[in-house]
């Protein structure tokens, strides 16, 4: 193999050889990292919704609410996962333009993107997106508003459970609120490269 590889491995071995013993791997209890609030939940949605609001996200429980929000802000042109559109299209009145293929040459055209969530984490208000479950990475990222469609039984209570359930998927993303920065004088601004508005839409 490459010389760099041999050099590095050789140096690592030489550096570690003199150690009388190596540091052992600690054993730790997963409960240690679970937030106090997430202990003993029955329905995780209320905590999830509360935590999502705490990071300036928007939890919604009906498509009607979603359409009202989009209409009120004049966000009329969007992208939707082709697998989701048949069940949602009925709620969208005329005046909305929704495409089911994301055209990357027209990024500025889409005000919103609707894709499927693969899960959520209640204690942090986090949405989980996977590569296999997301119809377009760009469609879920580039528009000003992203709506992740979520089922109640997909919500994990806490981070350790979500980590334990990480699927075999090449690109899993945990999204905790809208894209943001505080680079300019520490002032919080939302919508830097990703959505300025992050919505979780509960469908049961």
């Amino acid at each position: 193999m490459s010389t760099s590889r041999e050099q590095i491995m050789g140096r690592v071995q030489a550096a570690l050889a003199p150690l009388p013993q190596r540091a052992a791997r600690p054993d730790w209890d997963r409960d240690l990292v679970i937030l106090r609030q997430a202990h003993g939940l029955t329905d995780p949605w209320p905590l999830f919704a509360e935590r999502l609001k705490a990071v300036n996200g928007t939890p919604l429980t009906s498509v009607t609410e979603l359409v009202a929000l989009l209409g009120k802000n004049n966000w009329k042109h969007g992208y939707c996962d082709p697998a989701l559109w048949p069940q949602l299209s009925g709620a969208f009145p005329s005046g909305f333009t929704v495409e089911t293929t994301y055209d990357r040459t027209r990024v500025d055209d889409y005000a919103f993107g609707l894709t499927a969530a693969a899960g959520a984490i209640a204690e942090t208000g986090t949405l989980i997106l996977t590569d296999n479950g997301t119809s377009s990475r760009l469609g879920a990222l580039a528009p000003w508003v992203h709506i992740a469609v979520l089922h109640r039984n997909q919500i994990h209570h806490d981070i350790p459970s979500a980590v334990a359930a990480l699927p075999a998927d090449p690109n899993i993303i945990w999204v905790t609120g809208p894209s943001k920065t505080a680079d300019v004088e520490g002032i919080l601004i939302e919508g830097v490269h990703g959505p300025g508005r992050q919505v979780a839409l509960l469908v049961d």
Binding site: S4, R11, V12, W174, T181, D183, E185, H193
Partner: protein, 464 residues
């Protein structure tokens, strides 16, 4: 030289910058403390465990590195190794040239700054663009970041607005929302026109080969949605044994860095995009970089390799708050930099031998560190090293102790000196010809000399 280099930086810092750095770091620290203690019964225990996990990893890199290599390859990732910074730069160039690729969009990677990748690639006709807002501003200004997670903590909005105007990003406007919106608009088209996404990784799980990349802005995610080739530069110390460990470390990273429960975008990337996904890299490369890390591993300061680059030690450090990041003259500022930079410098150690002294050893950095690194101990070891190797900077600003040694070891001389000390009270102290004392006295007043009273008391004290 009467003062340390870092004192000069602190002295020359513009008042605006000093205020910005001071407030920014102080606020960051206060928010972190509140969040940690509000949500966990025993945050200190978490820091200890996290430290033990990372210490275990670095002391077993000889097994973990081949293991993670095998896992990544099984996931369809091409693995490269770079013993030096030059090797790493060449590896990036080779990957790109072999495929005829010319344009890189970069999400923040500290390793790329460490190896001066941009400069190298530009020389070879490859364009690089920083996409993190702060790093983008640093790039258009040909400046350097001054903080690990807040790269432009030293700039104010007026300077940024001027830079944007100069770069043709719109008429002068210093509203932070407008600045951000303009960067958003400008950068999204750049992502879509780029060939390669270059990222770092905050953690790499050996068990699954998942690279964990965290950003708040979503820039690394955009890089990975818009381009067809992903190259990740990863320091060899970034491994964690299992996915499970990520649960702990991610909790600590977000809280320690920016007082968030979790950073907004936490990505677990383990290979090229899935077959059904229209967007994103069809190829993924991981370059494991040594560049001095194995020297650190061989030293008695190897604990610093646990560092997860959260920046908490910068925020809490009284020296950093006064001097700002550029005073450390290297990619890694603050307490972590005072340890890491001299070590990574290798043969250039003497150039950074003053940094370990840029600390009052107050211990605040150790207290906040999410992986429990005993930074003050490491600083002391490096001061020793500086002395042992006779690095001139290691002595600068330290009062010469030779005369003291003579006095302290010879009682007769000591007594004479004590008398001399009394005379000092009748002399203007600015006549004392000791440069270090001059520097010290420039800001303080010497107390009245009261030497000898202990001896008098000891001699005359009532005997039991």
């Amino acid at each position: 030289m009467a003062t340390q280099l870092i004192d000069q930086f602190a002295k020359n810092l513009a008042p605006d910058t000093k205020a910005a750095v001071y407030d920014g770091s102080k606020k960051g620290h206060e928010k972190r403390t509140q969040l940690l203690f509000d949500t966990y019964a025993d945050p200190n225990r978490l820091r200890e465990i996290a430290g033990e996990i990372k210490q275990h990893v670095i002391e077993n890199l000889d097994t973990y590195l081949p293991a993670v290599e095998a896992k990544l390859q099984a996931n369809g990732v091409k693995v490269h190794w770079a013993a030096t910074g030059d090797d790493a730069c060449a590896a990036v160039r080779d990957i790109m040239q072999a495929r005829g690729l010319r344009k890189i969009v970069k999400a923040k990677t500290m390793v790329s700054e460490e190896i001066e990748l941009e400069h190298y690639l530009n020389k070879h006709g490859i364009e690089t663009l920083e996409t993190d807002l702060g790093e983008f501003i640093v790039q258009i200004d040909h400046d350097h970041p001054s903080h690990i997670v807040k790269p432009i903590i030293h700039k104010n909005r007026r300077e940024i607005a001027q830079s944007f105007e100069r770069e043709g990003l719109g008429a002068y406007n210093d509203d932070p929302a407008t600045i951000t919106a303009r960067a958003r608009q400008f950068l999204r088209h750049k992502y879509l026109a780029a060939d390669v996404a270059l990222t770092g990784a905050n953690f790499v799980s050996v068990e699954s080969g998942r690279l964990v990349i965290v950003t708040n802005e979503g820039n690394s995610r955009f890089c990975l949605a818009a381009t067809k080739c992903h190259i990740a530069l990863v320091g060899i110390e970034k491994l964690v044994p299992n996915d499970r460990d990520l649960g702990l470390l991610l909790n600590l990273l977000g809280r320690s860095a920016t007082a968030q429960q979790l950073t907004v975008y936490t990505e677990f990337v383990s290979g090229p995009k899935s077959a059904t996904q229209p967007d994103g890299p069809e190829e993924m490369h991981v370059i494991f970089v040594d560049n001095g890390r194995t020297d650190v591993l061989a030293s008695d300061c190897r604990d610093i390799l646990r560092c997860i680059r959260c920046g908490a030690c910068l925020n809490v450090c009284p020296v950093y708050r006064q001097a700002s990041g550029h005073a450390y003259r290297s990619v890694y500022p603050g307490p972590v930099g005072a340890v890491l930079s001299p070590l990574l410098a290798g043969k250039k150690f003497p150039e950074f031998a003053d940094l370990p002294k840029a600390s009052s050893l107050c211990g605040a950095c150790h207290e906040v560190c999410p992986v429990n690194i005993p930074i003050p101990d490491l600083l002391l070891r490096l001061r020793e090293k500086g002395k042992r190797e006779g690095a001139p900077l290691a002595a600068a600003g330290t009062p010469p102790m030779g005369a003291w040694a003579v006095l302290a070891s010879q009682p007769a001389a000591w007594k004479v000196a004590l008398f001399g000390g009394k005379i000092l009270n009748f002399l203007p102290t600015n006549l004392i010809p000791v440069p270090a004392l001059r520097a010290w006295e420039a800001k303080r007043t010497l107390p009245e000399w009261r030497g000898g009273e202990f001896r008098a008391w000891f001699k005359n004290r009532p005997k039991p």
